[in-house]
Symmetry: C3
Subunit: 310 residues, 3 copies
Amino acid sequence: MKFQKPYLLKEIAEIINAEFEGNAEFPVTGINEIHKVTEGDITFVDHPKYYKKALTSKASVVIINQKSEAPDGKHLIFSDDPFRDYNYLVKRHVNVSKQDQQIDPSALIGNNTVIQPGSFVGKNVTIGEDCFIHSNVSIYDNTIIGDHVVIHSNTVIGADAFYFKRRPDFYEKMISCGKVIIENHVEIGANCCIDKGVSGDTIIGEGTKMDNLIQIGHDTVIGKNCLFAAQVGIAGTVKIEDNVILWGQVGVNKDLVIGEGAVVYAQSGVAGTIEGGKSYFGSPAIDAREKMNQIRHMHKIPELFNKKTS
Amino acid sequence: MKFQKPYLLKEIAEIINAEFEGNAEFPVTGINEIHKVTEGDITFVDHPKYYKKALTSKASVVIINQKSEAPDGKHLIFSDDPFRDYNYLVKRHVNVSKQDQQIDPSALIGNNTVIQPGSFVGKNVTIGEDCFIHSNVSIYDNTIIGDHVVIHSNTVIGADAFYFKRRPDFYEKMISCGKVIIENHVEIGANCCIDKGVSGDTIIGEGTKMDNLIQIGHDTVIGKNCLFAAQVGIAGTVKIEDNVILWGQVGVNKDLVIGEGAVVYAQSGVAGTIEGGKSYFGSPAIDAREKMNQIRHMHKIPELFNKKTS
Amino acid sequence: MKFQKPYLLKEIAEIINAEFEGNAEFPVTGINEIHKVTEGDITFVDHPKYYKKALTSKASVVIINQKSEAPDGKHLIFSDDPFRDYNYLVKRHVNVSKQDQQIDPSALIGNNTVIQPGSFVGKNVTIGEDCFIHSNVSIYDNTIIGDHVVIHSNTVIGADAFYFKRRPDFYEKMISCGKVIIENHVEIGANCCIDKGVSGDTIIGEGTKMDNLIQIGHDTVIGKNCLFAAQVGIAGTVKIEDNVILWGQVGVNKDLVIGEGAVVYAQSGVAGTIEGGKSYFGSPAIDAREKMNQIRHMHKIPELFNKKTS
């Protein structure tokens, strides 16, 4: 998330009441999670395991829970709870809509686009031309939808990321400040959920088609011309390349890549990165032919034991 | 789909700007996909593998991408892209509702039927007597619902079939011209999706009861008094006979039959036709007792290898 | 369910036109299913297998399909169909809302709580302070929601239990008379379904967080600070203790307990009660390390057979 206008480093430090090291007049342009952060922005780190990653990231300012020297070109803000202070800064800049109207007046809606009764469109939403938004769809703030997009009834675009930090007695929610971007010629079925990004964006690539009851997690990026059958579930921060086919009820774990043109058979579970151009089956998913071969041999297993004991 | 009044063969050929062979004055009564087509209707075929099937189907008119002689009683229309021309003809006769009202004035709603706030009812919908449609349900055009039917909140009846043809650079959507028929005494849970037929109808048989978050694909026909637990997913063009029980999260592949009284245990995947009167388990689903036996022996497998290597 | 004021035993018997044994003036205070019934209440039993359980339950009145002596402190009502008569009595006291307004005037809504457009709130609903109910949510009658609760779009709270009695020719629905209780600081994702209790209540414990497209069955009780990923499905009358984590697409069978702090990996199926403090995987779910070990050995199975036949 970029701020509407930059803050000075000393202003940021004052907002969260913290000490800092570096140029007090440095202009801070935005705030983002470690994987998405760009130059001029703030990120945070609260575990020694990730100190190095944060200090060598593109962030210009790091909120950190250990006093140390700032590396060249970096600025540090010292906090006893960097997650809390990061979330506080994000929250100041994210206003959840409390609108009374089903379609917020700030929404930009293209020519020849139909929005059926009962659909809700939040603040700062853009919808292109020749789209058809069926009844009772919910579109959260800041969503961007291209041209020739179809969204079937009761689908939800842009709900919050499922991202919580464990505290001793409760879970603290990471405030989502990303959005959903749906490119041209995408079709999304009924009762689907596409969550907004935590810090980056969740993107559905041009020409991709989804059936009903599908879950797409936060910050996941899906390529062009993919085909997902009903009840597929994809976790957060996944990258799915072009022309991938996922059959019904497939589950995909977080933080992985599915290569271009991969096909995953029904009910499989993708546990780690898989290469493109191949077919997969099983939970965890492996090469489809190997899995089929295992299944064929499964039938003989009981017989094997009977022989051995007789 | 039947046309409101017949076209002459020469009129159809003119609409899609194509040559034809046969009686120019032949009255064409409708258009349908190869599995559902009836006498007097048009179908299409674009792959040599299916030429024979199309030419011996009940269709009176076949749009085909190879010049050939018309068999007795058939008429041919020659096209370089039969899918495109078939879709074009269907599209001319399907008008997607752009209605402004939540309940279209054309809907016929029986005595003593309650439709709660937020529900959407499209054009030419019929709902019988003593039904209860809970809040925020979406019912697409042309749906037919019998008497004593309960539909829980946020369920979607009649969204488009998930049916796309792969083109070199994109997917082209097959226009759905079928509908959903829900018979008497059916109860459907919350957040379910029942898609309309591509060319025939999706039918939910009398007395069948469904839990929440269930997916029923296009042209699937479900018998009487079936029981489906939550998160079941059934693909397109499936036939499920009477008294079938599917437990939670079961997946059913397309183009198959589940015989009368079959029971499929939770999380199973039905990959092909299965006989009635039996119980099934696993993905792919097999006889439940055999699967249970395999699972029991699975526990001994690691031990077996340890013995062999020691 | 407690009656608004007690009936005399003879009045109850008259309503269902049945004979009875016991004190005609006994004040009957409510009606409940055998597992939830409390002193002063009616329950029913229609199978000899459960006669003893019913007659030794906390119920003061038992509707039973066999003439017999009433045990000490119990009263009997004789019926040829106890399920029908029980359901009839419940139905007299449950009025399903036919309201015309999206938010029923009887709803009590706390300070600083936002209910976005398109959401439906039934009769006698209570929502606490500082809650955010996103667009197109459906909340059925009698639901109780605490403070600081977030519910994302198109979720359904309080739909009927999926609970049917098989009759020779059809399924008869058990009328739900319980409700849903959501405690403070709970967050529920988009397109979820939380069913009301059949006779008791479905409870989501304080601080629990749920992702999208999740199913929670009737009378299920979930502890504090649990975390459920997308597309989890939990059947009815389950008890989940505090701090349980269920990953994506996990299924949980009915009538079981998941112990405190248990973790169940993605796509697993929990078939019976499991202990707390451990990790589980597979369908049916077993100790996660044991399952992983089985899977590692699965790869060698085909090779094993090849050796044996060569």
